[in-house]
């Protein structure tokens, strides 16, 4: 599966971005890239199934809030 990012810009200005086909820690590399691309700051982030498909054992769920990035 090719690496894609779906960016949805809502009518109220809020944005949701979701990485597709990017497994493991690599997906975290896109958080600062998206912030720069969108001229926006991260309000919240959460890992989904493919994150756990990477080559490391990771927690079942992780959620970060404003000003923090998911720790690798």
């Amino acid at each position: 599966m090719s690496r894609r990012i779906a960016v949805t810009i809502n009518r109220d200005g809020s944005i949701k971005a979701e990485t597709l086909g990017i497994k493991g820690k690599t997906c975290l590399d896109y958080v600062p890239i998206l912030e720069e691309l969108l001229d926006a700051e991260t309000l919240q982030s959460g890992f989904t199934a493919d994150y756990h498909a990477g080559d490391e054992q990771l927690p079942e769920e992780a959620t970060e809030t404003v000003g923090e990035q998911p720790s690798a």
Partner: protein, 155 residues
């Protein structure tokens, strides 16, 4: 799927969901020492240029001053927007203003501002994706007026 991120554009304050509706009568001492009361409505809006455009789009007259404040009027109702320390702008009306009309102006302006932000972000993605090693693969508009861009990050 691997990570889902919720972001807020820097032109908007994350702390305010949409807009703080209503107004509070506050008093402030002007430079000449006299006390002035005003009906103040806090907003989530941060970018003066976009705000002026939003105000004009809803039919208001608005002008950005050299000190960063915005003065104008809408249907005979005067207003002034001033910056707060957190970067947001608040609307100041006369203390005897019709609060319902002030609220109407702020809500309409917030919606117009958000639409302008949406378009600005959309254009920024189109313009800058290539610089960041990505290409815009598709672009769709949803029933709720949301815009979804799918970026190919193979580069």
């Amino acid at each position: 799927m691997s990570v889902e991120i919720l972001l807020v554009p820097l032109a908007l304050a994350a702390a305010h969901a949409v807009v703080v509706v209503g107004g509070a009568i506050t008093a402030a001492v002007g430079e000449d020492g006299t006390e002035r009361k005003a009906c103040v409505v806090q907003t989530r809006l941060k970018h003066p240029g976009l705000l002026v455009e939003a105000l004009k789009s809803v039919g208001a007259e608005a002008e950005l001053g050299s000190d960063g404040t915005i003065n104008g009027s809408w249907e005979g109702m005067g207003f002034r927007f001033v910056h707060h320390e957190d970067g947001t702008l608040s609307a100041h009306f006369d203390p005897d203003v019709d609060v319902q009309r002030a609220r109407e102006l702020i809500l309409a302006t917030d919606a117009a501002y958000a639409k302008a932000v949406q378009q600005a972000v959309r254009q920024r993605v189109r313009d800058r994706a290539g610089e960041l090693g990505m290409t815009v693969e598709s672009e769709t508009v949803g029933d709720d007026d949301s815009v979804t861009l799918v970026l190919n990050a193979e580069g």
